[in-house]
Symmetry: C2
Amino acid sequence: MATINRNYLKLPGSYLFSTIGRKVKEYGEQNPEADIIRLGIGDVTRPLAPSIIQALHSAVEEMSKEESFKGYAPDLGYEFLRDVIAKKDYQERGCQIQADEIFVSDGAKSDCGNIQEIFGVENKIAVCDPVYPVYVDSNVMAGRTGEYDVASQRFYGVIYMPCTEENGFMPELPKEVPDLIYLCFPNNPTGAVMKKADLQRWVDYAREHKAVILYDSAYEAYISEEDVPHSIYECEGARECAIEFRSFSKTAGFTGLRLGYTVVPKDLLVEGVALHSLWARRHGTKFNGAPYIVQKAGEAVYSLAGRKEVEEQIAYYMGNAKIILEGLQAAGFEASGGKNAPYIWLKTPNCMTSWEFFDMLLEKANVVGTPGSGFGPHGEHYFRLTAFGSRENTIRAMERFKSL
Amino acid sequence: MATINRNYLKLPGSYLFSTIGRKVKEYGEQNPEADIIRLGIGDVTRPLAPSIIQALHSAVEEMSKEESFKGYAPDLGYEFLRDVIAKKDYQERGCQIQADEIFVSDGAKSDCGNIQEIFGVENKIAVCDPVYPVYVDSNVMAGRTGEYDVASQRFYGVIYMPCTEENGFMPELPKEVPDLIYLCFPNNPTGAVMKKADLQRWVDYAREHKAVILYDSAYEAYISEEDVPHSIYECEGARECAIEFRSFSKTAGFTGLRLGYTVVPKDLLVEGVALHSLWARRHGTKFNGAPYIVQKAGEAVYSLAGRKEVEEQIAYYMGNAKIILEGLQAAGFEASGGKNAPYIWLKTPNCMTSWEFFDMLLEKANVVGTPGSGFGPHGEHYFRLTAFGSRENTIRAMERFKSL
């Protein structure tokens, strides 16, 4: 008799963004005249840049001819893409990462969700609270946590690191030592960033305790301030303790195109085994490469013209972030983030819960955001807005906030 | 201290096709003048059909404009694609499958590898021997098997169902009752097919024992004979016991484009829980949708023109299959398959092992095939050739076989 993976039953509800999607869909059906502005899910709205479009068309043409048709991609990604990533994202920034340490994938969400598979079920994870739900949920599914405790809104067996107003939304080194540490900076959802010296402390801590840091750097392109590391490999010793996730989704508008990559340095040994070889086995067995045409689009992001175009897009979104941050502050809200990240983290007024504020905002202003409590209990009474809307919608949303 | 998933260490070597790729690459480097013909990995060689190319260009154009740009895809795939799949692949064949039972993905390999996650670790799996390695390897990684036994070339705790010359490469209902049964027909690697009445016996067996059949139907488009089911849902009761995997890779040449889907009927309950909800949770948490442009390409496969074009491609490959099958038989080999599948399964001459034959064929004929033993111990002394080469290369490969 077949049995299910009962760990799935520990998950309290559906995936956060699926719930939001359903709620908004229902509201829209009941209020067909409502002019809904979506600043909830972190989805981009600018069209793909001209260089990327050109690369796509050109790659599609290649697929139409026998002599240039491409079937299965190489396991770890095409060399043309891995080479340019290693050079532009790492070596030119002084990080010693080689092309064969880069695994191209269909996006950072898949990799963040799947990476836990190469670790033993007995590993204890540490996550920020609030946190991107995929880190926790994927570990729950794998049985690496206990049950969900409704009262505390936490899973037993997970080390939560509160990120609060008091600590500037920066986690403290945990007293109980974890085995796997998920960090994401610039942070989703708070928009906070970690300075290089602070990140170095985490690297030192991980090496001291033989823990592995799973570093989500999906938003590095939004960093505008000095002394904020774009990669964990800017820190000394990180090659021996850290895996890094990167995404083309927010950097170049690939949310609908799907491309990301994961860096597993060959120096990273756990129990004497190279994690690189385990991840290569996982990748080779359960994944069949990102589409050739999408990898060519990814390559175009690194061309001179492509880079300039995506930088303009990022500047556009960061212009939105400024409008939101300043608009919220002018409307009397406490808000932070938005300077090195496309996310603005605001405190709900009058001690409203995050979901109360979500409902109120949807109904009164027809604006969709993300309830902070969806990211963890310390996200309660907070709310995330994203800078990924159009300029016009962003301005209109802020006007609606004023009259709340 | 972090620990690794030690189940990975049970895997005896690298993924089969990675090993072949490495061997061929090394041979090519040492023999740069060699004119290597690849009939090993099941990768297509015909360019994408005109309707698909057109759909891709048109979707790329949509991505270039603000008003038609697409970000994240819906969790389970775009409705336009799921609707046409449900209608054309199922309802028009008399199978009661609805659009919301279809989960669009980046390919059947990912889904076949990931599906085991929604089942308990205590489930015992049954696989054909020989078998597509992903089914076994993904269960080894999850800890659903014992160690690998070098002598028998088998994992402890797995029910292997021999498919031999004696039983016409058809597995028998296992005496020890499994919980999860992997079946793939038309079969990879043997090219054998199961008649409808035979498949019905498996469905009845699964329902009787509350087992779940994981049915890989990636090659259904190659079926040419009557009375061979294209879908397991042609069998009565399959909605209550079977999950089906389909791929656009071989059907429409999408190996480099990446698109597939999995059907999880809502009637399929295990321990009273709908597997549909578990797979939806998995999909929503660890996957972010197939690219919009690729889903539009998938839709084009179902257009009148698209269907005609891909049928011509399949006829082309099946023409190759005929050439291989007849060529091998004329050259004195025992061979089967190739009538309802793009694979031909041949017996190695003179009791050579599969890898001995691989090396001999590579060195003497510069032809690459797949060693049968890579698919399991009962694949030893067999060898798989695929019909996916060009016509010219297929003919040339057969000439080289003649003079072996």
